[in-house]
Symmetry: C2
Subunit: 213 residues, 2 copies
């Protein structure tokens, strides 16, 4: 059963409850938006009294901020693959794989991020201007190197990145629309694989990616 034999320690209680609240908050913010998600609703999803939420997160905004920050970190982590590769076929291919996997496993997080950015990033604007900007410049440099090495056609790296983000995140943010057009059912394993392969093929072919000769 779920009942532990010894009483939970303070640290365990805190970690457990914060995790519970953050999961419930991510799901609720994604489904209802910041304004539509009430603290009472998040509390119900988490299975805790509302006042308990305010013990761990003093305000709704502070809870929301934590959710967005956590998503951002997961999202950035997927980009490490980018650097380890020798060329666009491995690098961009692995990046698309990773982002499609995130879209499948954590659609709620992607939706919260999208909503935050659509509303002009009221709480993570500083991240956009620092971390994201730096990361983007770094990746642009990598792509420009690949182009200089003749490993792909000369395309504007910035718009290529936007295309990668747009296409992969679309499968999370618009999963409801995609499911509706799929006779109301979630994509099967095979359909996810085909989506990923189609995206990779079109983009890698589209930029003329090739191995070193």
């Amino acid at each position: 059963m779920t009942t532990p034999q010894r009483p939970a320690s303070r640290k365990e209680i805190r970690q457990e409850n914060e995790k519970l609240i953050l999961q419930a908050a991510e799901k609720t913010f994604a489904e209802a938006g910041f304004g539509g998600a009430t603290m009472q609703l998040i509390a119900d999803v988490a299975g805790l009294p509302k006042a308990n939420l305010h013990y761990y997160f003093p305000t709704k905004e502070s809870l929301y901020r934590r959710v967005v920050q956590d998503i951002f970190h997961v999202w950035l982590q997927a980009a490490d693959i980018f650097d380890a590769a020798d060329g666009p076929i491995e690098g961009l291919g692995a990046y698309i794989d990773a982002k499609m996997e995130i879209s499948r496993k954590h659609p709620a997080g992607s939706k919260v991020w999208a909503s935050e950015v659509m509303h002009r990033a009221p709480v993570i604007q500083d991240y956009l201007e620092t971390t994201l900007r730096d990361w983007t410049e770094g990746r642009i440099a990598v792509i420009e190197r690949w182009i200089a090495q003749g490993l792909m056609d000369p395309v504007n790296p910035r718009h290529l990145l936007y295309m990668l983000w747009a296409t992969t995140q679309h499968y999370a943010d618009f999963n409801h629309q995609i499911e509706t057009l799929n006779t109301g059912r979630p994509l099967s394993d095979a359909q996810w694989a085909e989506a990923t392969e189609t995206v990779k093929r079109i983009i890698l072919t589209g930029i003329g990616a090739r191995h070193a000769s």
Copy 2:
């Protein structure tokens, strides 16, 4: 000046005010979400007293529904170009042009649509299941014909459509992020042209689009 010489007629007043309210509502829903947009805020943006909004649109939801429906129709209209074309280069090319133009001119509408779909389409689910589904099936048939005619490589038409939607709408939904990464400034005419050309080139190249030989 703005003052008309003769008093406005009933029909004119109604059209004028509905237009004013719908524009204010689209902007406000896009910026604040359904929950974050208050009737008072929309009224202020429209420059009308709040009670006047409720005279033209009895409930907040009915106003929101009208906004979403209007967007959907504009969005569908852009797709007529699709059919008039002989092959993917003209058809998809013109479709990308049209959708990029909409993303540039009406980003708010695209954001409202995205938000609605992300929240599992509470008010336009029936549209998704009827109009959008039919439209999608029709376009898939067109693409399959192009493939059969050897005008493009055999790619899954459904995922190609998702890619078109994702990529073009990204420039509207995430325009704030794009502007932030563009040293805080909106894209210039030249940058929009380059974005459109890059998207068209990667996708059309990626699917091996070619003219009839």
